[in-house]
Point group: C2
Chain length 351, copies 2
């Protein structure tokens, strides 16, 4: 049978019963790429695989959780769905709500977000309401609406999101035929590292696979878990992980502890450099936040953390096309030549 999305594929691991009608855009089934060029570039002794979640329908891993959250919302006859998010979550929520025939609402603090950042959610038909207040006000109102109406919250406090996101672990286990020894991830709201670990554990309990060490990387200016305290004004070029008080903080720490992994920080320049290296060696254009998984890997390689027996998977959480401007900052501008063969050949500088 042809592929029909993560709910049908992994139904036995999800909180649905046979006969559920998934709201799916055929998310999941994303490439796991053996990154030999990157391994050479980083002089790594271990194998490196990249899980490219940017290939999902709306361009990020959020789609795995959203198919589950929206399917569940339909199941309980939600009137609409709502979230307070500016980026990948609102895009994914809007797309899956559209497919479900539900209205999506996005609540935001006024004037904080450029409309361009919201283009994706808007084109999918989400209604965006800006309030005269800050992000906490927006979240408070979203929670109140979730309590007092039949509108379902699809922010990360919705537990069905993590259920869907864990399916990425299953795909990796199936493709590799066994668990990697290490799994490296960007950490923002910390839902994804929580979800991957849940996935690895559930698979292990059913199929007796081994477990990887979880490696989490936060941006230097936005590293509440690493520092063990809420960051009031988080800053990083990697907007998808610019979060000062992660929703899944405790569960992420548990994943790191149980797996004997570690959390660490990477600088913005390490992130942007990693983004370029991934693009130039492997032909994969990921979001800045995604590249923190490889930036962190590189730092650990410099500390000789890995051996030749290790197999490391890095998740690239989102598509670089979501934020081409940030990536463009560090790139070489075009050269100019007269329209003559010799001049162009000269600039090409062939051996």
């Amino acid at each position: 049978m042809s592929y029909s999305g993560v709910i049908n594929k992994y139904l036995e691991y999800l909180p649905f019963t046979e006969g559920v009608r998934p709201v799916t855009l055929l998310e999941g089934n994303t490439p796991l790429i053996e990154a030999d060029n990157l391994r050479d570039e980083l002089k790594a002794p271990c194998k490196i695989f990249l899980k490219f979640e940017g290939a999902n329908p709306t361009g990020s891993f959020k789609d795995r959780g959203m198919t589950v959250a929206i399917t569940e919302a339909v199941h309980r006859n939600a009137e609409a769905v709502i979230c307070a998010s500016t980026g990948n979550t609102s895009a994914s929520a809007a797309a899956y709500a559209a497919k479900a025939g539900l209205q999506a609402f996005v609540i935001l603090p006024k004037g904080k977000i450029a409309v361009g950042k919201l283009a994706q959610a808007l084109i999918y038909g989400a209604k965006v309401i800006e309030i005269d207040g800050n992000f906490d006000d927006a979240l408070r109102i979203v929670r109140e609406i979730g309590e007092k109406t039949n509108v379902v919250i699809v922010n990360s406090i919705n537990p069905f999101r993590i259920e869907g996101q864990k399916t990425a672990s299953f795909e990796i286990l199936e493709t590799l035929g066994s668990s990697p020894t290490h799994h490296s991830l960007p950490v923002g709201n910390a839902g994804n590292i929580t979800a991957y670990w849940k996935g690895y554990k559930e698979w292990a309990s059913k199929k007796h696979s081994s477990l990887p060490k979880m490696l989490g990387f936060q941006a230097e200016g936005s590293a509440p878990i690493f520092h063990g305290k809420i960051i009031e004004h988080p800053e990083t070029v990697a907007t998808a992980i610019r979060i000062g008080n992660p929703a899944s903080w405790k569960l992420a720490v548990q994943a790191l502890d149980e797996s004997k992994g570690q959390i660490n920080i990477v600088t913005d320049s390490e992130i942007l450099e990693a983004q370029r290296v991934i693009a130039r060696t492997e032909g994969i254009f990921c979001e800045p936040a995604s590249a923190s998984s490889v930036a962190g890997l590189r730092n650990l390689l410099n500390k000789r953390y890995f051996t030749g027996k290790d197999v490391v998977v890095c998740t690239l959480t989102g598509n670089g096309l979501k934020d081409p401007d940030t990536a463009s900052r560090g790139i070489t501008p075009p050269l100019t030549a007269a329209p003559s063969l010799s001049e162009v050949l000269n600039l090409m500088n062939l051996n």
Copy 2:
């Protein structure tokens, strides 16, 4: 075995032998989505499926042809690859060249293209050379370089591109279990409609499947095949099909004739409206050019062209994230409210 790209999957249909080492980013294997919401919206009697090629690694169908072209270039020890393209082709060429460890060159007329449009090719490491001349000068120099050096041209004059692109037909045939009755496509350089038809015919000759009617749609201001003459200054908001003298003109006409299909035109406003309808009903954000396949379908539905027995596949050639600005023009801006539950609920206008 896990999915390993279109060359391994469809080797018997491609000009390679066993043992070829594909340069792959795991392109292909893209979603074919049954578009029931769109069918309802368009009041269509037939089934409609959307083949979302925006899920490919660089965000367009070009990756299918590029894996074949770059693999062949490596096979004959190319020193580098080169193209004169501003959009999806240069992005795809740059990505696959990066994976192959080859330098990619992009030759362009100076000042005609915003650097932002090239961000994707540049981040993958392509070298861009702008010449003081027009697009014909750029193409002439590319051809000369292809003749006089060991640099391989990966523009659409490279026949291996079409070989790879035809694999999209195979995926559709496998997923549906039979041929659709009609296949609707945007037509620019006309390589894709040529490739799909080649794919359908080759599958039919091996597996005795039936053949679809090919339906091609050009933008009104850029419709050389429809009008039967070269358009000196093609214009359309759908930049990916803004082509006045298609490379695969004759083969496209042959595909239309052999399949008893038709070529037609769609206006820019029909294209943009179709782009919004696809996003709002199916949760899929495609490039403007892609939407011409659905805009054309809509026009034919209005003429009662289809019956209840028909199965129509529309190819959505590229990811909307490649050009969010065009899509943003027609969307509703955010509303504003005080930070109070009642005000927000009022704006949400729930039933």
